[in-house]
């Protein structure tokens, strides 16, 4: 909830909504927002039953691509949240409601904890056709890893070959 609330605030969600979404009173949300919350609830349940009715209402608001994207994000959040529960991960104090906000001790001085400088604020998203930083890092790391594996394979095959020759 912590980091997602902080990112949500940067995306323009109010404290009322960020706090309200944790409870059962959903009157502050729009119809589409309630629909998204209903999907998150259905996916968090076990067994995860998304009814035909809910799916048709979602399809009325979102395209198939959008629904796949939203479901993937929720499924990924389920993965992270459940993994954190095993190890009893605590909050990192990234989100504080605007009223009564206090700077945590481990927050760099001068940084407003209610406005974390996240690079993916929606209004400043980079053009989608620009190569993302992560992609470049993943590509470089994968290339280095592949090169290392190839060299290991080469060394192993050379050893096998020399051993085979020695047996002749």
């Amino acid at each position: 909830m912590d980091i997602n609330s902080a990112v949500g605030r940067n995306a323009g969600l109010s404290d009322d909504k960020l706090l309200g979404v944790r409870g059962s009173d959903l009157s502050v949300f729009s119809d589409t927002e309630r629909l998204v919350i209903e999907l998150a609830d259905a996916m968090a349940d076990t067994p995860s039953n998304v009814s035909d009715d809910l799916y048709s209402r979602l399809r009325a608001q979102f395209t198939e691509d959008q629904l796949m994207y939203l479901s993937a994000q929720i499924a990924f959040e389920n993965f992270r949240a459940r993994l954190n529960r095993v190890f009893d991960m605590g909050s990192d104090d990234l989100y504080h409601p605007a009223s009564g906000a206090a700077v945590p001790a481990n927050t760099p001085s001068g940084r407003d904890p209610t406005r974390i400088a996240l690079p993916f604020r929606e209004s400043t998203l980079p053009p989608t056709n620009s190569p993302p930083y992560f992609c470049a890092v993943v590509f470089v790391s994968t290339s280095v890893s592949a090169a290392l594996n190839a060299s290991r394979c080469f060394i192993s095959s050379a050893r096998i070959s020399s051993n085979w020759r020695a047996t002749l």
Partner: protein
């Protein structure tokens, strides 16, 4: 207090140490779950790949974050 000790940057796999700098730049601190997950570098790379794959937004970030906060609340994750 988490049940698992975090992996500090100097002890992390060399190919993932850059991620600590990214966390500090993005959030002003190193995130405890990510530091714990450094035990499984393959999983960390998978997580990074998933985040990268979902970087191109098809739905408003407001909807996505609402769903994520709701999911975390339902599962009981405070992070």
């Amino acid at each position: 207090m988490a049940r698992i000790a975090p992996i500090e940057q100097k002890d992390a796999p060399w190919h993932l140490r850059w991620f600590y700098r990214v966390m500090r730049k993005m959030f002003g601190k190193e995130l405890a779950p990510a530091k714990a997950q450094m035990r499984l570098p393959g999983m960390m790379w998978g997580t990074i790949a998933m985040e990268t794959g979902l970087r191109k937004r098809r739905v408003s970030l407001r909807f996505v974050q609402l769903a994520k906060v709701r999911t975390a609340a339902r599962v009981g994750c405070p992070f």
